[in-house]
């Protein structure tokens, strides 16, 4: 999963740091869904045909 983010960051510089902090922790209001299942970790494997969705809780108020 992190490789996917690193690749995204290559294409969109700065993206990864807004999603993952400098210690490799997914930020508080971010969630990965893989094939519609939640709680996928940053270091979990994914398959080439998996559907990955990064959901963001647009917190504020």
């Amino acid at each position: 999963m992190d490789e996917l983010l690193i690749d995204l960051d290559r294409r969109h510089p700065g993206l990864r740091f807004r999603v993952v902090d400098e210690q490799g922790r997914l930020r508080q209001h971010m969630r990965f869904f893989v094939n519609r299942a939640m709680n996928h970790g940053l270091h979990d494997p994914i398959d080439p045909d998996d559907e990955v969705v990064l959901m963001q809780a647009l917190s504020g108020g």
């Binding site: 510089p13 700065g14 740091f17 807004r18 999603v19 993952v20 902090d21 400098e22 210690q23 490799g24 922790r25 930020r27 508080q28 209001h29 971010m30 963001q56 809780a57 647009l58 917190s59 504020g60």
Partner: protein
């Protein structure tokens, strides 16, 4: 000759607004920049060729620094925002960038950033890439001084008030809320507390060496030996090389008190300072005492204070945060403050008369002045 346009920037919980005027009478309020982003601090570099930096984040996206070289027409994001070292012992991560300070004039491109939690970061390339200041972040006393990871002040435990001595780029001051004021004389390699004389009535030992709660600390540019501090426990002055702060806020009327957030300096007169008293009694409402908004100004280094409320509402229940008051460099000096209720107030005569120049903005976090070159 056309006067240069003055632009106070109002930084709000939901974006950046640029207020511009050529005569300090008629003001235009821009459309929001970065609407929806928490814009904590925007500072224009006073050095030639400098850029303007903005500390930004949203509720869900991590913290970053935005840069503009054209007064906000176009922005780029820092390619390496402030961050602690990956894999460091304390596993700290920057929650938000809270404070921005341009470096010494002899070091163009240098900036400092203070963070939540209380990290200090430095850029040598006009804010594009940032590195931790290891002498501070990894100081053997940092965990103690920063009270890490104890529960913090409401907006997080922040590092603020980074001041660079205009005579010496290696002489730095900073403030921790909470933790106190700290000084470095070697460019940030080592640090020492500078809190003697500051009260800490919330601590078991009121004469503690650190653990204080400075709200805002300012070094006067025209007399860098003159420091002012608005603290959780009063308003203070320090004349270096002395190391003991004097509570000149005791000279304010007792019914007003000397609690507040911001300190604002006259750009040329080290004895003239503005503060905005707030109610620090009982449960600390942090609104103006008795709900009567007033600025207080001293012209003698805090020995006496004058109430400046002409034009301000008779009753009002807002707060002025630590970054939400500023001055311009004109003569007479313009003074500005923004409120938690989304108003910006301005005086073109050093505080004698006030006018509301913007309203219905989001809560104002900070306000700064830039004069386009």
């Amino acid at each position: 000759m056309k006067k240069k346009e003055r632009s106070p920037f109002s930084l709000a919980r939901k974006g950046l607004f640029i207020l511009s005027s050529s005569d300090r009478t008629t003001w235009d309020v821009s459309e929001p920049h970065h609407l929806g982003h928490v814009m904590q601090h925007v500072v224009a570099d006073p050095r030639p060729g400098g850029v303007m930096l903005a500390a930004a984040r949203t509720g869900h996206l991590g913290p970053t620094v935005l840069r503009t070289a054209d007064m906000g027409t176009s922005w780029t994001e820092a390619s390496k925002p402030p961050a602690f070292h990956t894999g460091e012992r304390l596993a700290r991560s920057v929650d938000s960038v809270f404070w921005l300070t341009p470096g010494h004039k002899s070091e163009p491109g240098v900036w400092y950033a203070g963070a939540v939690p209380q990290g200090l970061f430095r850029s040598d390339d006009h804010g594009d890439t940032w590195a931790p200041v290891d002498g501070w972040n990894d100081h053997p006393m940092w965990e103690t001084w920063a009270e890490y990871p104890a529960p913090a002040t409401p907006d997080g435990a922040m590092l603020h008030s980074v001041n660079v001595d205009p005579r010496d780029p290696n002489h730095l001051y900073l403030g921790l809320s909470s933790g106190g004021v700290f000084e470095s004389t070697d460019g940030g390699a080592d640090w020492a507390p500078l809190n003697r004389g500051i009260q800490a009535d919330f601590m078991p030992d009121p004469d503690t060496e650190y653990g204080h709660d400075p709200h805002c600390v300012r070094v006067h540019p025209a007399d860098p030996d003159r420091l002012y501090q608005q603290n959780h426990c009063g308003f203070y002055r320090l004349d270096r090389p002395a190391t003991e702060w004097q509570r000149v806020g005791d000279n304010l009327p007792a019914e007003i008190g000397d609690i507040g957030f911001p300190v604002e300096l006259h750009p040329r007169n080290p004895d003239m300072v503005w503060m905005f008293p707030m109610d620090g009694t009982e449960v600390w409402p942090r609104t103006s005492p008795d709900g009567r908004p007033a600025v207080y100004r001293t012209a003698d280094g805090g020995e006496s204070w004058e109430c400046q409320a002409n034009g301000l509402p008779e009753r009002g229940w807002f707060t002025v945060k630590r970054q939400a008051m500023t001055t311009d460099a004109s003569d007479p000096v313009g003074v500005y403050f923004g409120t938690t209720s989304g108003e910006v107030w301005a005086s073109a005569d050093e505080g004698s008369n006030w006018r509301c120049i913007a309203q219905h903005l989001p809560e104002v976090f900070s306000i700064e002045v830039a004069t386009p070159s």
